[in-house]
Amino acid sequence: MKPFAYARPGSVAEAVRDVAAEPNAVFLGGGTNLVDHLKLGVARPDLVVDVRTLTSREIGDLPDGGLRLGAASTNSEVAADRRVRERYPVLAEALLAGATGQLRNLATTGGNPLQRTRCVYFQDVTTPCNKREPGSGCSAVGGYTRYHAVLGVPAALPDASAPETCTATHPSDMAVALAALDAQVQVLGPAGARTVPFVDLHRLPGDDPSRDTVLEHGELITAIDLPPLPVGARSAYRKVRDRASYAFALVSVAAVVAGDDVRIALGGVAHKPWRATRAEEVLRDGALTGDAVRHAMDVELTAAQPQPGIDGGNGFKIPLVTRTVVATLRDLEATA
């Protein structure tokens, strides 16, 4: 492992200044992803700035009836919080569907959405990867694609040698729920504080697959706000994976139904948590019958691009994600 300096400054503002001043500096939260990347050589920082004990660990009520999750609150604490369980079950279920007890006790609200893809090539420094080493190419093209994207992949790609190619998926379960909840991300940076809608936090690969989010260097998540849901709103998270527990999603669905409004976010299918806005539009004001939901998902998946691969490819995700949305909404309707 490459040597690095470690700092735990006296305040969040100081931590932001420290990272902003050193181009090769990173923030450390719970460390469950970063420490692994230090060992693998995926992350090679000169300076690690520990913010775990600087940002708030509180889960507090907001004046509008929502909740503010301090960046240092752990995934366990958020999943166990009574208000989260009662008012935002989709978030508690997503958190509990991810990782394991001893990881959730370390992992934080601020860090979870910033965890990086588990693409095997990204994590293997001996292989080309545009995300890890911009311009080196993409080893996933024609390789192992079972866990890779089918949405948000431009038709001209993938091309193994193009610097834009990246078919990696975002691995977080929590992030899919936060996208469906229209959460707001509180960010502190060298230029001051700003609020980023959660659905805009993550980006598609575009012309720079190395960037997972819109955060600039030195910008730190200090809290995530959950807006209040209308009275009577119901929500749920459903995850499909290769094992019963402790595995990343092949596909996952976070759904919120509030009156005539339905919100659907998909995991395991794109470079970012994917809000199925086209399907939502089709379903607005209509009955959530199985046929209606299947039709809405057909519309959503018009541009889907299955990736061939030596493992049989990932075309199975297209019918699977539709069925998972149908099942999630069916169960939510059954509890209405």
Binding site: V35, K39, R85, P89, G101, Q102, S245
Partner: protein, 170 residues
Amino acid sequence: MDADITLRVDGETRRLTVDTRTSLLDALRERLGNTSPKKGCDHGQCGACTILLNGDRALSCLALAVAHDGAEVTTADGLAPQGELHPVQQAFLDHDAFQCGYCTPGQVCSAVGVLDEVRRGWPSAASADLTADPELTDAEVSERMSGNLCRCGAYANITPAVQQAGGVQA
């Protein structure tokens, strides 16, 4: 680069100087001579290194020692301070919940954490009702212990051991 830290390990205050790259696991094993937590995968995938960190179960391989200066660490060794077995340890013996034993200290620490989480009413992915008090069913124990792999495959005995320690009548 070095850093001076203090850890409270199994009730004893230990001061040491560590390279900033040192994991809590390596600090315990290589520097403090506590080989109770095991190094299985060293990437957070197997659970053999599980300890109680300020009372909560955590993976010591993914924690930097320097980031946990001042922490209270309990290993499986520290659960039996005067040689008297912890109820979870006794239950593992009673149920023959291991074969080679390599994963056992991690399993035991994890189980102690699980029972505490259940006492606090924390739900799991196996809980049908997120807001109800969880019960130690087979499905709940399997889900909650899923971060501890046992390549001998002693799971069928680990589950009843955890249930016994949790007060479930066989």
